[in-house]
Amino acid sequence: MISQLLFIVLMVVGFGFFIFNISKIRKNISLGKPLDRSDNKFQRIKTTLLVALGQKKMFQRIVPALLHLFIYVAFLFTSTELIEIIADGISGSHRFFMNKLGWIYVLLISTIEVLSVLAFVSTLYFLARRNLLQVPRFKMSEMTGWPKLDGNIILYLEIVLLVCVFTMNGADEALFLQGKSHIAGSGSFGFLISSFTAPYFFSYFDVETLIFLERMGWWGHILVVFGFLNYLPYSKHFHIVMAFPNTYYSNLNNKGAFNNLSSVKEEVLKMFDPSFDPYATPLEGEASVPDRFGAKDVEDLTWKSLMDAYTCTECGRCTSACPASQTGKLLSPRKIIMDTRDRLEEVGANKRNNGPDFKDNKSLLGDYISEEEIWACTSCNACVQECPVSIDPLSIIIDLRRYLVMEESKVPSELTGMLTNIENNGAPWQFAQSDRNNWVDE
């Protein structure tokens, strides 16, 4: 009875705190500028199924893709087991679905066990990749400190979870063989892995120890699950949630199409309109001062860019494909996204603690991302192409450039000439427009 109460309290707190954190993140994302992605629902669902659920883009690199798939599928199946844990936890029953499902139950738990073994091996390999092997994209400057620890914490939690699963099932199997399990009857459960491991690892313990181990595994399992759930919103691992909305809302247009700024279009159209009176009072509903051009801080970015920031799991495929990064420039698309998230968390916390109008005199551009980084970009779209969860670092880079150029007139000196030429003679070089077809007769 006490353990049932304890479980229910734990569950309510576990889910409650998770929902609380999710709503904070939702609020932070909605700080972004509007962007319409309500079109093409069918195409969007298809993209989500292929890219998020089907992990299509992961399979560009086959070894990590397979290992990641094992952990992912094990996670999905283990989540179904969670339903039973919750049913048992609340009702005080043991293996709630076993007798109801019969052989399907045996198949399901066996599948979970096999996947758990695969996930265990994968997790060990991933730990080695992060800490022992020299994978360049895990060794970059943005991957020290918290991001490195974060990546490892997730993997350690997985190890603990899997050890709990096998302890629980192994001890229970040993108990059931003696007819001492919490469920009526005796024999073997017939689970593929634990019916094999129980005689080796658990037959030496007495009944009391086995019951303790089984309970430890069960509570350990559910504690890690609730802990994991509430760790997610603070971690890069939040991608397991965000991958779905982020691919759904991803850009479906050609990647080369940059958005046109309607505020700029209006200004330019006014310049071409001879009847426009610059001194006239603005019409009702018309903003007298146009929006800031481009982005200086996270609130100037679209909500999709902010969603991107929460979706990133810091795998670094973007950065390893980036031509600037590969040739030693300061730019790392992954860092652009990580900076955006860090700054957004900061802005969100400021607003919650000090009111919605609080300014801390810091900004994404300058305090987090430097001009040198954004000018190193060739806009080649390799980072966008590589991202397995449809993050678009390029649109943030371009929005930051727009702010620098249009609001602060900060342009690398060679580009000033190029821009002046376009404005004066319609070409990036200083050639007269009237000479444009001289090539024909040369």
């Binding site: 080369g256 199409a257 046109n260 190193a376 806009s379 390799a382 249009m406 376009i422 444009r436 040369e442």
Partner: protein, 267 residues
């Protein structure tokens, strides 16, 4: 310079209209194609192909102006918008229905960024048009040219490939030559940028340990290519500079697909 035999015919839209004619297709030459000495040769190769196939085309000539691509990539939306609105006005005035460009940057901007501002025309890249002409049997390559035993590799321009998912048209064209088409280790969607996009063409690179075009040229040298085929005047410049850096000008030639085809067809 050129003798009467292979003199190219390049009417402007204004001239055509004065003769009560309309072009079926507008050749958007682009700033590189108009002013850059190397890229002018590419423009001529494209024109030779258009002339040979008796395509009723025209250029804007002195009325053409930058699409605004480099301004937009550099963050100056004002300069871009000024160019775009004026260009669209001009193109609409001439009732242009279809455009072929010699540059993937012009191609991308005209195709993807102009429609929202009021443009309504079809845009193709010259490699797509050439591919279509070959498929329709209007452009015949006599025996596949002079490339027997040679290796050609295609460097995907970012604004043709990743930006617009055009990977096959240039390759289909190159396969018609009697050369071996070899792929670099990074190609198609994984192709490495030449380093010139995003307005980098007009500025020095940021501090690093290598130039991007050197990194990319190494890919081409690694597959022992005799020809690096390009579809972009910027890529052409960057790869040519890369080959010069390795002093391999004798061994490796950097040519646009239009030039390779116009050579192969003896135009």
């Amino acid at each position: 310079m050129s003798n009467e035999m292979n003199k190219i015919r390049v009417p402007t839209v204004a001239e055509m209209i004065a003769n009560n004619e309309r072009p079926d297709i507008l050749f958007w030459v682009g700033c590189s194609g108009s002013f850059d000495d190397r890229a002018k040769k590419i423009s001529k190769a494209i024109v030779k192909i258009l002339n040979y196939c008796n395509i009723k085309f025209a250029i804007l000539g002195a009325e053409e102006s930058c699409t605004g691509d480099p301004a937009k990539r550099a963050g100056n939306e004002f300069a871009f918008m000024m160019q775009a609105i004026q260009n669209i006005e001009l193109l609409k005035g001439y009732e242009i229905q279809k455009i072929v460009t010699g540059c993937p940057h012009c191609f991308n901007t005209l195709k993807n960024e102009y429609p929202e501002l009021g443009a309504d025309f079809e845009v193709v890249h010259h490699t797509q048009l050439i591919n279509q002409l070959i498929r329709e049997g209007r452009l015949l390559l006599k025996g596949g040219g002079k490339f027997d035993g040679k290796k050609i590799t295609f460097h995907d321009p970012c604004y043709l490939g990743r930006a617009n998912d055009v990977y096959e048209a240039p390759r289909e064209v190159l396969e018609k030559l009697d050369a071996e088409l070899v792929e670099m280790k990074r190609s198609k969607a994984k192709g490495l940028c030449c380093g010139a996009g995003g307005a980098q063409m007009f500025k020095d690179a940021e501090k690093g340990n290598k130039e991007i075009n050197i990194e990319r040229t190494e890919d081409a040298i690694e597959v022992n290519a005799d020809y690096i085929a390009t579809g972009c005047p910027f890529c052409n410049t960057m790869m040519t500079d890369g080959i010069k850096h390795f002093e391999k000008e004798e061994k490796v030639k950097v040519l646009d697909i239009a030039e390779l085809i116009s050579n192969a067809a003896d135009l």
